[in-house]
């Protein structure tokens, strides 16, 4: 209400400054977008360049002619459909596993009291502080004993056990900001802890959950090290491994690498664009007044 009254002013001078501010904002937005997109443009232009013209001095930004066939070649030279299937299985499982288990664990750390909570939480964080380079070999040994090597399991199953410290910490920060009045009200209504988690904490943290889902999607869609270490046979390979074969097969075929990279990247951008409808302002506190 208040907002509406303050905004709908007819004073031309106020309107002028407001329009100027909007115009300047757009200018900054467009300028920064261009700067941010330079590497992407270069990628796009490489992906449409003829193979023989990729590595030459002063290459043109806009290739001539557009080699759309690069895309056809890049996506047919290897069984990308198979890679896509594997990547989809891993990515979908991990998104579900990580959002679900990280939110459960984060709820425990933010809304429940139990002895040793703070020490355990520092332990959660400390799992990110030891460089992975020294735990890689012992982890590989564990998965060997489980007979999970060359299956998708090492890439999927851990996601269901806490979903990683990054997501636990992120969701904890968001759950901590939920007013205790809401929790108390739910308790009075006879809500169990699990009910509060499901009916109060999750709906109020949609932007954070969307962020977790986006990061999880991106992380597993692009994950290169995981599949590289645990997958050997062609039928279990993922898109990221497929992309890498353009580097190793016969030297780097930049035009094909970039064409395949762009094809792999587009779904991520589309999902990101769509996921933004969950970024709606002011949902946390607006439920309670006074």
């Amino acid at each position: 209400m208040v907002n509406g009254r303050l905004r709908k002013t007819t004073d031309p001078r106020v309107r002028f400054w407001r329009n100027l501010k909007t115009a300047l904002t757009y200018l900054v937005l467009i300028g920064l977008s261009c700067v941010f997109l330079i590497p992407f443009f270069w990628m796009l232009s490489t992906s449409l360049t003829e193979a023989s013209k990729v590595i030459v001095r002063d290459r043109e930004w806009i290739p001539h002619p557009f080699m759309w066939s690069n895309y056809y070649k890049a996506l047919t030279v290897l069984p990308f459909q198979l890679f896509l299937k594997n990547t989809l299985i891993i990515t979908i499982c991990c998104i579900i596993g990580q959002t679900l288990s990280a939110s459960l664990v984060a709820f425990g750390f933010s809304r429940m009291r139990f002895p040793g909570r703070n020490v355990l939480f520092i332990m959660v964080l400390s799992t990110m502080m030891l460089p992975v380079q020294v735990t890689q070999i012992p982890t590989f040994v564990i998965f060997t004993h489980l007979r999970w090597i060359d299956t998708l399991k090492p890439l999927i199953v851990p996601a269901f056990f806490g979903g990683g410290a990054f997501f636990i910490f992120l969701l904890r920060q968001f759950f901590m900001t939920i007013p205790s009045e809401l929790e108390d009200a739910a308790k009075i209504d006879g809500c169990s802890s699990l009910g509060i988690y499901w009916n109060v904490a999750l709906p109020l943290s949609k932007p954070a959950l969307a962020t977790v889902a986006i990061f999880s999607f991106m992380g597993h869609w692009n994950d290169f090290m995981g599949p590289l270490i645990y997958i050997q046979s062609m039928e279990n390979k993922t898109l990221a491994l497929g992309l890498n074969s353009f580097r190793s097969l016969h030297g780097t075929e930049y035009h094909l690498l970039m064409a395949a990279s762009i094809s792999v990247l587009l779904p991520v951008l589309i999902i990101f664009f769509c996921a933004q409808k969950y970024f709606v302002q002011g949902i946390v506190l607006s439920g309670i007044k006074g």
């Binding site: 425990g108 070999i137 946390v284």
Partner: protein, 304 residues
């Protein structure tokens, strides 16, 4: 906690609390604890991956104190962290504030700003090497451009970037700023949690834009800022990929980061024990920095 007995209700809550965090606890015990302990044990051993493990006591840790590259790589990492953390935090927050305005087409702009974070990978790092190329690179070609209406170039002799020991690190820091999209996204999510009523109330109290920023936005965003701060500390102390692919630690060790040197010890010189000892030293450093932040946090992080 064991000093005073818990009431029945507290006991129920404690049991439920452990149930909530049990997925993490099981995962930690099954997948993480073993490798963590193994690396700790290895830090007191000599192991070249091929021959059997040999116990050497504190030798690896003593050797670290005499290794000039440890000091050099730690200094490099500190240099990188002290620039990349504040620049990244401010950069991510400003872009998030810019993109949090209610204007047409904002969804598109958010996506565009996020593109560099999605493209992050080996392909992009190779691309950056071309951009930083001293002679043909995009960046120096732009810097050598003539100022309009004169024949004087902006900068006649631009730095050699990755080829120059003084400029290699700034180059990597500039590049890191391209990845502010991740932090920006988290800030955006945090900004959604700030109720509009609070801004309206502050408007009625006659707050100007600066006051709104310092007295509404920053305090309510503090849990998110805290998260990004801790993550940047943990992340930038383990910076590795860029140097590994683009510089290999050079020129003249200028970009030999701690974790890069650790990796080289582990998988190039096959000194797995030494690498493990290095990992645990870094672990202690990051842990102390994190604990300090958690101690200071109650002074500026507001959860409700």
């Amino acid at each position: 906690m064991g000093k005073n007995k818990l009431t029945k209700r507290q006991k129920v809550e404690a049991v439920q609390g452990f149930m909530f965090i049990s997925p993490w606890m099981i995962g930690f015990i099954v997948f993480a604890a073993g490798p963590v302990i193994a690396s700790l044990v290895l830090s007191f051993c000599k192991w070249d991956i091929l021959t059997p493990v040999q116990f050497v006591g504190l030798k690896n840790y003593v050797k670290m104190t005499n290794d000039p590259l440890i000091k050099k790589s730690l200094t490099n990492t500190l240099y990188y962290a002290s620039a990349a953390i504040p620049l990244g935090m401010v950069g991510a927050l400003s872009t998030a504030l810019l993109l949090n305005q209610k204007l047409k087409g904002m969804r598109l702009f958010r996506t565009l700003f996020y593109v560099p974070s999605v493209t992050a990978g080996v392909a992009t790092l190779l691309l950056w090497m071309l951009i930083f190329n001293p002679e043909l690179g995009l960046l120096n070609r732009a810097l050598r451009h003539q100022i309009p209406f004169t024949h004087i170039p902006f900068i006649a002799d631009p730095p050699k970037w990755l080829g120059d020991p003084h400029w290699a690190m700034p180059a990597l820091i500039i590049m890191a700023l391209w990845g502010v999209g991740g932090g920006m996204l988290i800030y955006l999510a945090g900004l959604q949690g700030i109720p509009e009523e609070l801004y309206e109330a502050s408007l009625l109290d006659g707050a100007n834009a600066r006051q709104k920023f310092w007295y509404v936005t920053i305090p309510l965003l503090s849990p998110t800022i805290f998260f990004n701060l801790i993550m940047s500390i943990i992340g930038s102390f383990q910076v590795f990929n860029a140097a590994f692919i683009m510089t290999g630690g050079g020129p003249m060790d200028a970009t030999r980061f701690y974790v890069l040197y650790l990796f080289q010890n582990a998988f190039q010189y096959f000194r797995m024990g030494y690498a493990s000892a290095m990992a645990w030293l870094l672990f202690i450093i990051i842990l102390i920095l994190t604990l300090i932040q958690f101690k200071i946090a109650p002074k500026w992080v507001h959860y409700q």
